[in-house]
Amino acid sequence: MSVFSFLTQTEYTFEGKKSYETVLLLLHRHWFVMAIKLVMFGFMALIPVALRIAIGYIQIDLPFSNYYLFIAAIFYLFWWYGLFYAITMYLLDTWIVTDHRIIDSEQHGFFNRSVAELSLAKIQDISVNIRGVIPTFLDFGDLEVQTAAAAEKFFFKQIAHPNEVRDMIMEAHNQFIRIHPNDVETHETPGSVITP
């Protein structure tokens, strides 16, 4: 089914991915964050049904009763749009850890996107912050990457299993330092050396 090939051909690729890069982690916020929104949308979906039942119970004759189905259909159309807008914003907030760098890509709305990246060599310290009852039970929280620059920090917000992610990033960092002494890249083209 070549028509649907776009669903399978882009696994773990993203804009700006280097040919020599391997994606180690692709992180979103924890599913619980999205689940809260989905429950809210679930309740919103009941509004037209509840309204219909209420109108039938009170037995009032509204002037727009002939158009009720039409109005409800329009409501559901925009409900569908709102639901997928929320899902889109959730899916486009990503943190990617490759074997060379960390990419923080956050979507703040349509055409409002911030992307920052950090070489694994520049990581100095990683701390995890799990705050609250539900995050503790479900094991999700914030991860903070301190870089060599004085004020620059990377935040992974509400990610699942932050302690495991911290260990994996530290392991990737150590491996990167081992393979790339003095932070020298030698991948782009044969014979060329890229220095940061």
Binding site: F4, F6, L7, T8, T10, E11, Y12, T13, F14, E15, L26, N66, Y67, L69, F70, A72, A73, I74, Y76, L77, F78, W80, Y81, F84, Y85, I87, T88, L91, L92, T94, I96, S105, Q107, F110, R113
Partner: protein
């Protein structure tokens, strides 16, 4: 309806262009299919009203 489809295009564009992995593309497909079905329901409801 034109406003809806412009908005739908923006959702589809962002999911397909900036989504990493297969999941956003699959979500875009579900959104598109659902949008077509709902628009047809809106038209049918309008004609029968």
């Amino acid at each position: 309806m034109l406003i809806y489809w412009i908005g739908a295009f923006l959702v589809l564009y962002h999911l397909i262009r900036f989504g990493v992995g297969n999941q956003p593309k699959a979500v875009a497909f579900i959104f598109f299919a659902g949008s077509i079905i709902l628009v047809l329901i809106v038209f049918t409801a309008y004609l029968t009203a």
